[in-house]
C-alpha cells in the first residue's frame, strides 16, 4: 500500500482551478505571496539554524584560531585543511567513519532483509516477535552503548563471558571484547540497534507487495527463488535504497556509541568524535572546522554519487 501512494495524489498543482481566469499581475503576485507565507517561517528558521552555522564553520576553517592562544587568531589560508589531510589521526578518523558507516549499514540491511522475510508470514506470535525485534531501536543510544559496554562486553562480569563460563566451565576463555576488537565491538552494538530500523522499513515494503501477482506467478510455476529475485527484490529495491540512505545519514553522524564504548580510543575515533575532541578538548577551532567542512563535502559526494538513486522513492512521490 505504501509505494502506491505515488500514484494516488495527482500533482497537487493540478487541483488548483488557477487557469480558469487569468488574474492581473498584481493579484497574481499577491497570490504567490499568500502561497509562500505558510512556508516561510519553517524555511527561514531552518536556514538560520542549519545553513548559517555551517557558513560560520566554513569561515573559521580558514582561520588560525585556538581558544588556548587567543592572541594568535588570524587568517590561515588552507593550513587547517593541509593539516587535516596530512595528520594521521584525521586520516584514521576518515577511514573509521567510512568503515563504520558502510559495515553497519550493510550488515544491518542484510540482517534486516532476512528477518523481514522471516516475519512476513502469518505465524503464532507474529506481533510479539515483531515487538521483540524493534526493542533495540527503542533504547536510548547512550543507554544502549552503556549496556553493551558494561553489561555485555565487560571481561569480568559481562554477559558474553558469563555465558562462556556457564557453558564451558571454569576454564572457559574470557576475552576482553572491546580491547581485542574495538571497532567490531562498536559495529556490533550499532548493528544491533539499526537492524530493527532496516527490518521495519523492508517489512513495510514486503507487505505492500501486490500478492495477487505473486500468486499468479506461483500458479504459473515460478519457484520461490525466482519469485524472490524477479519480483520481490525489484519491488523492494526502493525500500532498500531508502533504508540505506536514511541509515547512512544517521550512522555517519554517530557520536554516542564511539563516545561511550571506547571514548574514541584504540583507533576508533570517527570524524564526529574527532571533531568533538578537537574543538571541545583541544580547543583548536580552526582545525575542527576544517574537519567539519571535510565531513560535509564527503557527505555531499556520497549522497550525490553513491546514493543518488535512493531518491527514486521520494522523487516519485514528490512529483
Amino acid at each position: 500500500m505504501a509505494a502506491d501512494t505515488s500514484v494516488s495524489p495527482e500533482p497537487a498543482a493540478a487541483r488548483e482551478p488557477a487557469t480558469r481566469h487569468t488574474p492581473s499581475p498584481a493579484l497574481r503576485k499577491a497570490g504567490d505571496w499568500s502561497r509562500r507565507a505558510p512556508l516561510l517561517p519553517a524555511l527561514i528558521f531552518v536556514i538560520l539554524m542549519t545553513q548559517l552555522p555551517f557558513l560560520a564553520t566554513l569561515v573559521i576553517s580558514f582561520m588560525n584560531w585556538n581558544a588556548y592562544y587567543p592572541d594568535e587568531r588570524g587568517f590561515a589560508g588552507f593550513d587547517n585543511f593541509v593539516r587535516v589531510f596530512t595528520d594521521t589521526n584525521t586520516r584514521n578518523a576518515v577511514w573509521v567513519t567510512i568503515l563504520l558507516t558502510v559495515s553497519v549499514v550493510f550488515v544491518s540491511l542484510v540482517l534486516g532483509l532476512l528477518i523481514a522475510l522471516l516475519l512476513d508470514r502469518k505465524f503464532r506470535g507474529q506481533g510479539i516477535v515483531r515487538t521483540l525485534m524493534i526493542t533495540p531501536f527503542l533504547i536510548v543510544p547512550v543507554a544502549a552503548a552503556l549496556l553493551w559496554k558494561h553489561a555485555l562486553y565487560n571481561p569480568e562480569y559481562g554477559l558474553f563471558n558469563g555465558l562462556l563460563r556457564a557453558v564451558f566451565g571454569e576454564n572457559a576463555p574470557q576475552p576482553d571484547w572491546i580491547t581485542n576488537n574495538p571497532l567490531i565491538a562498536i559495529i556490533a552494538a550499532l548493528v544491533w540497534q539499526w537492524t530493527p530500523f532496516m527490518m521495519l522499513i523492508l517489512l513495510a515494503g514486503l507487505q505492500s507487495r501486490p500478492l495477487d501477482v505473486v500468486e499468479a506467478a506461483r500458479i504459473d510455476g515460478a519457484s520461490s527463488w525466482q519469485i524472490f529475485t524477479n519480483m520481490t527484490l525489484p519491488h523492494l529495491r526502493q525500500y532498500i535504497e531508502l533504508s540505506a540512505l536514511l541509515g547512512a545519514i544517521y550512522v555517519v553522524q554517530n557520536f554516542d556509541a564511539v563516545f561511550t564504548i571506547t571514548s574514541g580510543g584504540l583507533g576508533t575515533a570517527n570524524l564526529p568524535y574527532f571533531i568533538y575532541q578537537t574543538f571541545y578538548t583541544a580547543q583548536d577551532y580552526g582545525r575542527a572546522s576544517a574537519a567539519g567542512v571535510v565531513v560535509v563535502i564527503g557527505t555531499i559526494i556520497i549522497a550525490t554519487l553513491a546514493l543518488r538513486s535512493a531518491f527514486s522513492l521520494f522523487k516519485e512521490e514528490g512529483r
Partner: protein, 305 residues
Amino acid sequence: MSTAAQPETEGTPTGSARRSGTVPGSGPTQEIRHAKPPRSGVLLTAAAWVVGILFALPVLWMILTSFHSEEDAAKNPPDVLAPLSLDGYRAFFDAGPWPPLLNSLTASVISTALVLLLAFPAAYALSIRPVKKWTDVLFFFLSTKMLPIVAGILPLYLFAQKVGILDNIWWLILLYTSMNLPIAVWMLRSFLAEVPVEMLEAASVDGASLTRTLRDIVAPVVMPGIAAAALICFIFSWNELLLARVLTGTVAGTAPVFLTGFVTSQGLFLAKVCAASFVVSLPVLAAGFAAQDKLVQGLSMGAVK
C-alpha cells in the same frame, strides 16, 4: 536463508516455464502463500521466535540486572535466579535524576510542538497550495538532514557563549526544532497530499481562512501523520546526546548527558547503570511500543505508510 523464508516449493527450473502456461496444480507442491506447510512452517516460526528473542535479549538482560543487587549483578557465571532487589533504582534516584529527566521532557515536548507548528503550514504550502519550485524546497529540507550536526556545532557553541545562553534549555529546544523540522515537513507533506480535493474546494468556496482551513479541515484528516511526526520528533529529541553534551552543563543537562556521567570508576555499578538506562529509555520504549505503525511512517519520513 532468504529462500527459506518463503517455504513453499522447489518449483520449476527455468524462468521461461512461467510463461508456458503450466496447468494449475500440475506442479509438485503448489501451496498458497500464508498457508501452513507442515514442517518448514514450524521451523520458520521457531527461527522467527529465536531471532526475536536474541535481539531483545540484551534489553531483557538489562532489565533483569537492574533488579539485582550489585554483588549479584557482577557474578560470573551470571546468577539469573538471584533475589530481586531495588538497590539499583534506589542508587539511581538518589543521584538526582529528576532535573535532567525534566529537562529532557521539556526539550522534547516543546521542540516537538514547535516543529509541528512550523511544519504543518509549510507542508500545506508544499502540497495543497504549492509554491513554485516546491520540489526544490522539499529537497532543500532533506539536504539539511545530510549536513552533519557536528559540522555546525562550533559556531552554535560560540554563539551561545557570546549571547549567554550556554546551559540554557531554550537553546537546545531551538536546535532540536531545526533538527527535526525537515523530517516533519516531509512526513506531513506526504500525508497532506492525500487530503481529498473536494474537502478543500468546499472550504475555499466557503471562504475559510488559512488558519481555519488548516485547523478545522486538514488537521483532523491527517491526524495519523501528525501523530507519527510527533512520535519520531519526540524520540529523536529525547535521544540526542552530542548537542546536549556540548551546549549544556549542570543546569540544562538532559537525561542522556546525565547517563554518560553515571559510570563511576570505583565500586560496582552495573545494576545502577542498568536501572538508569532502563528508566531513561522507558518513555521511548512506551511511545514506540504503543505506536509501532507510526514508528515505521516516521522513520521513513512518510515515504512508507
